[in-house]
Amino acid sequence: MSEALLTLGFGIITASILALSAVAFTLEYGVTNVANVSHGEILTIGAYAAYLVHQRTGSAIAAAIAAALAGGLAAVAMYWSLIGPFIRFGASPTVIFIATLGMSFVIQNTLVIFFGAANVAYTIDPGAPRYVGPFLVTALDEQIVASAIAITVVLFFIISRTKFGKALRAVSQNRELARVTGINATRVAAATYFLAGLIAGYAGFVLAESVGSFNPYFGFMFFLITLTAAVAGGLGKAVGTMVGAVIVGIILEALPALPVPFVGGYISASYNLAVAFAILAVVILVRPRGLFTNARRTVFE
């Protein structure tokens, strides 16, 4: 029993990082109706920015801010240079999907050129593990979960209470109708990308900290899991995506602890990605709109 709770604890940590990444991805999807495959690279850029700033200043807070800002700028750059022009050009979502895949490849390789392909060790002293209730956590874990919750609360305040949030929801639901009412859809989309980039960049920093190392490909690997969470929750739906992220995060952590008869006793953690995609395939086939959506409901309800 206590072992199950321990697993649940680790699952919550993974889930909170995943939730940040997935909610950012789903925001990007919502305003442009495009799956940004280079989303993972925002996390990677955030991790590199955090690492560089942390080395110079020695301050974790400065590193977090740098990661978020770098992520935000990277996301806006992606929007202005590639996704926006493709949308104006009238490209289909599949074409933009392929284009962002190409861009993700360009960014990964550019990072290899400047920083090398090797793993960069990035460890912050996580503090001694201690029990909080039934969960075994470190101070670092507590900060990760607390910051994820704080960001989520702020994000939902922005989406539901501010004028920008209203414009964001309008563009997500119907881009043309929003434009008719005088909303500058392009600017709202760019601003949303910036917001999503801030969150994703920070998620990259937190992920690098929690894993302890990163390389130019690490964001892409995490993107594959992000995609699972976002699709499971419903692409473009923020609340559903959060719930999807929590479920997928916990399943991924719980899985290696489950005994399975034919694969040498336990599923090795390296099967994670395969399992994530198996979940994804099942979800897409059974409930393509996501697990928690009612088809009639709109994007952010």
């Binding site: 490209a91 599949t94 999907f97 190409g102 490849f105 390789n109 594959l224 198996a278 393509p288």
Partner: protein
């Protein structure tokens, strides 16, 4: 002919077969299939386990037969078709657009992880090796003349596949696949069984991938999960796109440009002043430069020339029965 030229041509011919197979799925049927490299891998793995004989400890893998190479190739292609059929049955039922791409991406990762992690299958990340000069002893060839023989074999196979694809391209089946790409509803209204047709196209593409994989295994003499590197995969997609999706002549041109020209010319980057030192200090940098260039070409073509250098010929009704609307100026 230098050994270098032989290897470039052999690789190019095998690569051409791969691209022609991808063209069936992406070019004609219109589905952006990310699982395609998995079929190449299945073809290569199956050929190896059927020809290299029983496993010597500590290596372990299934089957371990020593069949003649052509027999192994046939079984490998059939296996690939079966795998393609399974993926196609799942992915083509309801899914189109990015959902299809995401599920096929999932499928290829599942294959990759299983091939890498489940050691008893294909010896995990070590991969398989030891297929030396298949059919060479039958014809009594030495190492040198075998290179010519295998080049000839690859070229002949490429020509056969190309001729076959040229026929398929203008056949009723090829036309029907294109109508699905253009307008599924209209095709259904004309009585086409969409799912069945798409599946047929998908399995045909997978079969060509498996066949190319079987040749690839003989060319490389080995195969392991690191051969599925993203660089290799994305070159294939960019070749089909740059040449012209749907047009087999375009696809071959794309293979010549992306697969042979870009791939081989970046090999000489170290000879440029300044880059040689860089290459010795950071060997992965040049590979990354090649990758970045290929990614950039993919993006630029999608934006500025999405139909490729040799666009597919569109079929236009030149004798409309009635002039529906006067053409405005």
């Amino acid at each position: 002919m230098s050994a270098y030229l032989i290897s470039v041509l052999t690789e190019g011919a095998i690569f051409g077969i791969m691209a022609l197979g991808l063209n069936v799925i992406w070019g004609w049927s219109g589905d952006f299939d990310l699982a395609y490299y998995g079929y190449i891998a299945v073809g290569a793995y199956m050929t190896l386990v059927l020809t290299i004989g029983p496993a010597q400890a500590p290596a372990e893998y299934i089957l371990g037969q020593q069949l003649p190479y052509p027999v192994a190739v046939v079984i490998a292609v059939v296996t690939t078709m079966a795998v393609g059929l399974v993926v196609g049955l799942i992915a083509l039922r309801h899914l189109r657009g990015i959902y299809f791409s995401i599920v096929t991406l999932g499928a290829v990762y599942v294959m990759y992880v299983i091939a890498g992690q489940f050691v008893p299958l294909f010896d995990g990340y070590n991969g398989l090796s030891g297929l030396f000069d298949p059919m060479g002893d039958v014809f009594g060839l030495d190492y040198q003349s075998y290179q010519y023989f295998f080049l000839g074999l690859s070229l002949v196979m490429f020509v056969i596949v190309y001729a076959f694809m040229a026929r398929v391209s203008s056949s009723r089946f090829g036309m029907a696949l294109r109508t699905l790409r253009e307008d599924e509803r209209a095709a259904a209204a004309f009585g086409r069984d969409i799912y069945r047709l798409k599946l047929k196209g998908y399995v045909l593409g997978a079969a060509l991938g498996g066949f190319a994989g079987a040749l690839f295994a003989a060319y490389l003499t080995a195969f392991n999960p690191s051969a599925w590197s993203p660089v290799e995969v994305i070159v294939l997609y960019s070749a089909v796109l740059v040449g012209g999706r749907g047009n087999i002549r375009g696809v071959v041109l794309g293979v010549l440009i992306m697969g042979v020209l870009v791939q081989e010319s970046t090999r000489f980057l170290p000879d440029l002043p300044g880059l040689g030192q860089l290459n010795t200090d950071h060997p992965q940098v040049l590979l990354a430069m090649r990758g970045a260039i290929i990614g950039l070409v993919l993006v630029l073509f999608l934006r500025f020339r999405p139909r490729g250098l040799l666009p597919e010929r569109r079929f236009v009704d030149r004798q409309p029965a009635i002039d529906v609307a006067p053409r405005s100026a």
